[in-house]
Structure formats: structure tokens, C-alpha cells
Amino acid sequence: MIDQIIQMTLNLDMPQMSVLEWIITLGKFAFVFIPLAFIVVMIFMERKGASLIQDRLGPNRSALPVFGGLRFFGFVHNFTDGIKLFTKETFIPTYAHKVWYVVAPGIGFLVAFLTPAVIPWFAPLTWWTGDHISQVSGMIIDSDTGILLMFALSSLSIYGTAMSAWASNSKYALLGGMRATAMMISYEVSMGLSLMGIFLLAGSFNLQHIVAWQEAHVWGIFVQPVAFFVFLTSMIAETGRAPFDVAESESEIVAGYHLEYSAMRFGLFYMGEYAHIVIASIIIATLFLGGYAIPFVSTDLLRAHVDIALALCLGGLGTMIGGFHLMVRRWKKVYATMGAKDAGTRNREYSFLQFTSGVASPVVLALAVAVFFLLNPMAATTVDGTPIFPAWVSIAAAAVQVVVLIAKAFLFCWIWIWVRWTLPRFRYDQVMSLGWKILLNLALVNLVVTAIIAKLVTGVR
Amino acid sequence: MSNYYHMPKLPSADSLRVTINVDGKDVVVPGDTNLIEALRSVGIETPHFCYHPHLPLSGNCRQCLIETEGPRGMGLAIACYTPVRAGMKVATPASSPKVAKARKTVMEFQLVNHPLDCPICDKAGECLLQENYMQAGQGESHVREDIGKQYHGAPEHRFEDTKGQDRGGKDIDIGPRIILDEERCILCDRCVRFMRHVAGDEQLYIAARGDHAFITTFPGKKLDHAYDLNTTDICPVGALTSKSFRFKHRVWNLQHTPSIDPTDALGANIWIDHDGGTVYRLMPRCNSDVNRSWIANSTRAAFEALSTNRLLDGRLQGKTVTRSEALRHMMEKLQSAKKVALVSSGHLTLEDNAAMLSLAGVLGPRAEVFGGSWLPVAKPDGIALSGDPVPNRRGVSLLGIADNLDQLVSRAAEFDVVLLAETDLWFADSKQAKALEAIPNRLVLSAWDTASVKAATCAVGINAWAEVRGCMVNIAGRLQMMQAAPVSPVDALEPAWQTLSHLAGSDWNEVIEAWKFATGICSPLASIKYSAIGSSGLQLPPSGAHT
């Protein structure tokens, strides 16, 4: 019996791949943690963005007990919050449906882990291994259903909301769950339809193809501005953030579907929301902002000049650290004028940050210069008319592309925060009428117009 | 100075109806009364201080001015002393600016020496002066404050206040139960008339003259009478206040529950004034057919018992147990008893006694119901007391329960269980009650920890009279209803009818179920609904249907 199983395992119809291919293919699975890593930054960004928009300072109390309390401008607050959420009592209401109450918060979070699988993080890696061309896709799942798979998965995340609302056995939670469910179903329609135009242009559901099309032609936002607007709006609604946070409107239904949740179960909702935003941002960046593509720089061009690209990335990092250094110096001065009781402690903290960034910035800049001069991409081997680079060049270019994609995603993450702290909450009927009467129709009209123009311009069959 | 005044004639159901013209509109009013009552019958309230429907007319406050047509055309007259005449023309402030101005001016004079200390006055909230002020005297006063605030009363009560003003007459002890405030008095002489005509003991009089006049007792005497607290009720201002309620609570915070006097068979109508589960006072409830506007001081003090010496749980062989334990014990004893004596009570409502009869019905021939009381009966005083301390004696006999406590004593040996409900036999006549101690199981339902509770083998607390809804029949055969005030000291307490229904095995939850049982077994009560009883009671036919 056991022998048979071992035999079966050995007989698994695995593709034949080289070691490097295996490493990259498996290593790609690390990308599912990108939303998780984003969350930490997102929460910080949200808090600081909100506070600055509202003319206040935001979190600035939690500190590491070194150098007079390192606070990193409130960044430490996230971790204290995390500790708090993990160590609080996880409370289950008496009449809750226990199993679903426990399971439901995880569903949305699980989906957040699955969706990065369909996103192209970089252009397909190609390198010459000596006897053949190795090729590794930029996505974890390279399927031609592509983004539909993501939609299918994210449509399942509604069950997390709905079941948590129902399992709480609370009227407010149920009302919130109802609202969330109805809204998500409504906006999924216009969300899907709005993308049809860009699918039509790219001729594929596969995000890799869509990005390649944008790289070759023009960014999606320029050919599909209406679709961009509709998709962005629908995505904000899907994430249930202001101005579409009717599902948790505290003035009406206390906290909506996560009313009865406490500690880390609530934390899962909280993090799920941010993970959702991150995914949505990456998707929008991929669909409408050319994904990993750098404007006017094709993947081949990037690979040919990967040393410049890396140097620019490092130079940017060094400049940012330099900017941080200047900011710290400024803050140090400002705090000294406030006449606060803890001026001495703060001074030590700012001095440490000033020193560290002051040292790090020139070092990184020097590194950038070194990279520019020392790295020298080997000349490409041309195979069937396409230049093929060595493996490390492809991987370095892929790293640059991941950075570019993440930078674009950050832009949209910021838009999420920006919109939230600008616009007031919609009324529920307004949400519904916007979804069904305006966005859906816009998406349909956009699809028809795109189809006609595409037919006229390209003369596709 | 004649001491005789006319009593006002009050309208009744069979009053002659006449048509008069009020403010240019013809209205039909009772023809045998004065204008205040006639106007009230058509919904026009006339402000007044000295007029009281159950006191002789005096007409000294001049506040109830209206205009009527006289020999010289329309002229001012006081409504309380003007009888209704068919076809007369009357003008109220609604149509006559003259009347409005006159009333306003009179109000200004009333207020000349009246201090504006409503916030600390105990009468505030039920003060006629305060109520009428906005209606008749709104606007600014013509009296300058420094001149107006002059005290002219008894010189021995004069003092200079914290603001340096000449004041006096505060806080004068004129009797064991009453405090007088001369400064607030507007000299309506209602209290004087009450003591003279109703109490029949003239203890108060108006001393001095003009603006020096003040109310006082005769020299060397105190205001001390069994009905003297009624003067605090009829006082239209805060001049006479009772010591027991003084500074206890503000009247606007009180809730009022209509009830009837639990200490006397006349069943004087009362209000239970309570707030936050505490009864603060009992006030007379006007019922022209029973007690008019008066109640005795003894009635007024009945609320004090509600918070003292209450039996809030159960007693078993003198030990304190929970209510349910005691009830379980009672149920066992009743079920295993060979012969049960159930003693009904005239202190309980008809519903409670009906529940006892239903218990007797459940127990069948093993049970025998006794009734009556050993409390001594005094003579009626003609005001608000009948002298009989058992308030529902008529009701118990109406239900067919004979007055046969003496039989119970003589046949005590026959019984092995006796159930007493709110009948304190050991207090009423401890010698006769001694014979009952031959009965091995003495079960008592009582709201208070009485002598009977101490003599009982098992006792259980019930709601007292103020906390239950139910009906009683007064000595004149008038069916009256008491409403439940939410003042039960412990939530677990139940009314007697509910406890008895538990013992009978039938769980009545609403008092109406007990009432339906009572109407079913008692022909005079048959087909009487609660809604038919009304606030002033229902006179039962005098056929004497009781056995």
C-alpha cells in the first residue's frame, strides 16, 4: 500500500524544469504575502494621512524603549495595536452560531491571500540556459481565465461578511451584513462589465497579456478612462470603504457586520479590509496603469539597461532617506519650540534618527553610483529575433518591475485613503442608485462604444 | 362681622339646564350653581383663590372676576358669588379686555407682599397662585421691588434677610403638624373657613387689619385637630405646609396614583403621591359623594406603614426563608390537610377574597371560609371617617362570607390548618386568638410582620394595599377601585390574589381574572366591568344582596 503511494508520488506528472526555474516558480509564492506586508504600511499611511488631512498629528505615543523612545513617526503604533489585538480576550456572544462565528472572519482574509496568484508581478522571465530558453511566467497561476479567477475568488469573500453578520446573531450585525452583501453583489456587476472594454482591446482575460498589450500600445487609463472611473468606484465600493461604508455606518447600525467581534477576530476584518484595498490597487495598477511596465521603456530595453534602472532605484531610495533626514531635522527644531515636558527624550530620539538617516543616505547613493558603473549587462543572445539575456539580468529587471508595480499600487492605496478622508458617507439608497443607475449604464455604454471603435480602427473580424 | 357664609351650590347630574351667553356664544350650563362651576362645565376655567367647592363662599380674593350684564350695562362681578340665571350675558377675558385687565390688576395686588421664592417653596408645582399667575397676571409688575417687599404682619416675626430686606413671618410653628409662613399668605381665609365649617373647631382667625392682617391661632392655642392637615391642601399658596412632607420632595416630581383609604370603611378617595418607588404622601382625591375634599390625618399617615416592618419574604417556624419555600410548605400543608379554615379579610380587596373563595372551591368540602374582624368600631365623625377600621367589610359580606370568626374560635379543634390573609387576629384580640393556636398549622399571608405572623407556623409576604389593583365596597355600598402604585419594596412580592391563586393551583396573572371570578360568584357584581367603576366609584344597588 505504502509502496504504491510512493510509486504514485514519483509518477506525478511534473513538468521538467531546471533548478533555477524551480526556485523561481516556488519563490513566486512569496508574492501572496505582499498584501500582508502592505497592510503594515497602509495602516501607518492611513493614520498619518488622515491626521494630516484633519490638521492633527496622528499617532505618536507608542515607542520602542531605546534612544529615548523610537517612535518612527507613529509607525510603532501599528505593532502595539497588533499586540493588543492578539492579547485581548476573544469574546463569543452567547447566542452566536459558534462555528461560523469563528470561521467567517477568516474567509475574507483567505481570499486576500489567494488573489495575488493571478497578478503578473513582472514580465515573463526568459534566459538562455545553454541548450534551450527557460521561461517563467510573472504570475503564480498562469491561466487564461486570469482575472476572472480573481473575481470568482473575491466574490466568495462576501460569504465572510455575510456569515459573520449572521453568525453574530445580532440585529445590527445582520443589518450591516445585508447592506454589505447587497452592495457587493450590485457593484460586482458594473465592476466586471467595466473591464470588458479592456479585455476586448487586449483580447484576453490573462493579466499578463493585458499588461503586455499596454506595454506595446498605451496605458489602459488613456484608452478606457470611463472604465477606469467605473472600475475605481466599484472597487472602492467593493472594499466597503468611505464613502461606501454603509455596511458599518456607526451612526446607524453601530459597527455593522463586525459589531460582535473583538480582539484578533475583529483584527482579521480590519486587516482583510486593507488587504482588499491593496489587491484592488494592484489590480487597477495592472489593468489601467500598465502594471509592471515603465512608460516608454519596454522589457527588452529595461533588460538591456538594467544597471541604470537599478542605479535609479537605489538613487531614489537614497534621496528619500535624505528627505527623511531633512524632515527629522525640521521636526527636531519644531518640537524644541513647543515647550513640552519630554523635550529631552524626544531630542535623543530625533538625534538618533537624524544620525542614522544621515549616514544611510550617502551610503545608498554611493551604492547607486557603484551599481551604475560596476554592473554591465552582458550582450543579448538573439534567438529567433528576440534578444535573450542571462538569468541574473532578467531577475534584476524583474525586481525593478516589481518595485514599479508596487509604487503604482501605492499611488492607488493613497487614493483610497484620500477619498475616505474627503468624501462623506453615501446614504444606502444613493449607493444603490449610483451602482445600478449610473455605473452599470456607463460600463455598458463604454463597452458598446469600445467595441464599435475597436471594430472601426482595427477592423477585427 | 358675620361668620355665616353660603355654601356654594354644586351642579349635579339632574341639575336644571339653562342657556347663557358666554363671550357672544350661547352655551347650555347647569342652572342651579354659580358661574365658576357653570363655566367649568363648558370648559372655561376661572382663576380663583378663596373659592373652594366644598367650603362656604367668601368672595374675598376677587380673582374670579367676569363681566355680566347688570342694570347699568356690562359690569365686573365675581364669578363665585354670581348665580347662573337663564339668558344672562357673561364675558370672560377671551372677549373682554376689561376682565383681563381687572384680573391682572388683582393678581398684582395679590403679589404685592408675596415673596418670589417659588424655588424653595414647598407648594411650587401645585400652587394656585403660581398656576394663575401666567394666565391672569402675565407681564411686568407695577410694584417696585424695594417697596413691595415690606412685611406688616406680626411684629415678633419680623427680620432682616440676607439681602437686607425687611421680611418676616417665616417658619412659624402653629401646631404639631403644620408650619405657617405668614409672608406667603394671601389671606383667602380658606383655612379659617375649613376649621370653622368643616372641622367645626374654630382654631384659626385673621388677626389685625388692612395690610397688617395675618392668619394665626387664638392666643396661647395651637392648631391641633384630627383634620387640620386639610388646611395645607386647600391653602392656595405655600403658607400652610405640613411638617411631614415639608422639604421631602418637590411636587412636580411626584406621580399620582388614585386609590382609596385603607384604614376606614368610608373608603375616602386618595391620591398616592410617589416617586422612584417611594410613597411621599397621601392626598385627598375629590369625590363629592364620599369624602368631598377631605381626609383625616390618620388616613394621611397610612403611607408611613408601607415602608416599615414589612414582611418581604417567607417565615417558616419563625425562621426566615424565601417566599417560594414558604409557599411550597403552605401548598403541602393545604394538600395534606383534613380540614382547612380559610379566614377572609376585610382589609383585602374583593379580588383577593374571591381568590380565597376559589381556593376554597379547589379544596372542596375540606375547606370552610370564615370572615369578620375583632377590631373595635368607633362612631362616624361625619367628615371622612366612618369609624369602622375594616375598609372592605361590606365587600366581604357581599361575596357571601359570614361574620363568623367566633365560630372559628369555638370550633378550632376541628381544623388542622388555618389560613389567614392580612387579618391580624392576634393583634385585634390576642386572648381569643390564643384559641387558634390549638390548630397545628397556622398559615398567614401578610404584608407586614405582624403579631399574627409571629404566631404563625408559616407566613409569606404579599403586596400591601398601595401596591395592588383591586376593588373595595365602602360602608355605603359604593364599589371603588384602588390602582397599583409601582412602590413594591421587593419585586418578588405578589398581591394576595396571585399568591392565593398559586395555592389554589390556578395561575392567575392578571387581576382581571380574579375579578371575573368574583363577578361570577357574586350576583350584585355580575356583569360589572372595571371600566364601569370609574374614578369616583359605582354605587351598588341598595337591594342588600349580601347574605
Partner: protein
């Protein structure tokens, strides 16, 4: 009666909301940028490191005003407890020992956990006996019981904390006359 204000109807651009949303986002971004650039110009205090000066007329926790002899000025009229929308004031009255004064409180309790700090008790008081000018806005205790302020606590305030030109805060009305009146009535003047 009611004046009807004719609202200007929205233009097409405004009705599309998009342009207005962009304008609004411009506003918030302006704030963000300004605060990022000049954080020192933000109107804020780094409480508790930086002391906050609460204005004198800010509604803080209550205090009871005193007569010159240290007795509460309150006459137990219940006006404050009647006006209180939160019903947080409990008063029990008793006759005053000073014959010129009718009532005084035997018990005067304010439950600060229930209080909504609306100031209606101040408004209602006919004798200016209760005030909310202590400028104590952060009331913190360890138990619920400690939040119920009784009369000694409400009377326990220091005249030095209040402006000297506020005569009411320093001494009760009557002043010299009051003292004379006390002498006339043969009452001992017990000055604190």
C-alpha cells in the same frame, strides 16, 4: 413663518459630482501638503506634555458656591435636578439652621459618569450656587463610586484658583450686611 430659502439649482458639472469631488479632494490635499510642509503651524497642543490652558468659561466639573460662613449657598430648590437632562443630581433637603434661610441641602450628589456637562444646572440655579467653571475637564477615577461627587467634594475648592475680581467666587452676596444680620440674630459668625 418659516422663511424658505430658494436653493440654487445645480449646474450640470455640479450634478455630475465628479468635478466637485475632485475639488474636495484638492482641498484635503491642500491641508495635507500644508501640514506636511509646516507641521509647526498646526493648531494643536501636545497634551499632556504641553499644558492646556482651558478658558475660564469652559464647562468643567461642578463646584458648589459658599456663603461667608462656609455653608453651601444652595437652597435645595431642586431646580438643577429638575433641569438636568441626564438626571445626575440627587438632592435631599433639610431646614436650615439659619432662620433667615429656609432650606439647605442635606445631601447634594452629582454623578459625573451620568452628567452630560450641558450646563443647564448652572442656568437653572436661582441663587448661583452651582457653577461649572473649575476648568477640570479630565475627570478620572478608579471606581464608579468615586465619580459620584458629594457635597464636601463639591464645596472643596480654592478661591485662589478663581479670578479675584469675581466677587461671587470669593464671597457670598450680602457681605457686610450678612455679618450684621447674623449679629442682630445673635448667631455666631464662624469664618473659615
Amino acid at each position: 413663518m418659516a422663511k424658505v430659502i430658494q436653493r440654487r439649482s445645480l449646474t450640470l458639472l455640479e450634478r455630475s459630482y465628479l468635478w466637485e469631488i475632485i475639488k474636495g479632494m484638492g482641498t484635503t490635499f491642500k491641508h495635507l501638503f500644508r501640514n506636511f510642509k509646516n507641521p509647526e503651524k498646526m493648531q494643536l497642543m501636545s497634551y499632556p506634555e504641553v499644558e492646556v490652558q482651558t478658558p475660564q468659561n469652559y464647562r468643567g466639573s461642578h463646584r458648589l458656591m459658599k456663603r461667608p460662613d462656609g455653608e453651601p449657598r444652595c437652597v435645595a430648590c431642586y431646580m438643577c435636578s429638575t433641569a438636568c437632562p441626564a438626571r445626575c443630581i440627587t438632592i435631599e433637603a433639610e431646614p436650615s439652621s439659619d432662620p433667615r434661610i429656609e432650606k439647605k441641602p442635606r445631601k447634594f450628589e452629582i454623578d459625573w459618569l451620568v452628567c452630560v456637562f450641558c450646563g443647564l444646572c448652572e442656568e437653572a440655579c436661582p441663587v448661583d450656587a452651582i457653577r461649572m467653571d473649575t476648568r477640570k475637564v479630565a475627570i478620572s477615577h478608579y471606581t464608579r463610586k468615586e465619580f459620584i461627587a458629594d457635597m464636601p467634594r463639591l464645596l472643596n475648592w480654592d478661591p485662589k484658583d478663581f479670578p479675584a475680581n469675581d466677587a461671587q467666587s470669593q464671597k457670598a452676596p450680602g457681605g457686610k450686611q450678612n455679618q450684621q444680620a447674623k449679629q442682630i440674630w445673635g448667631l455666631e459668625v464662624k469664618h473659615s
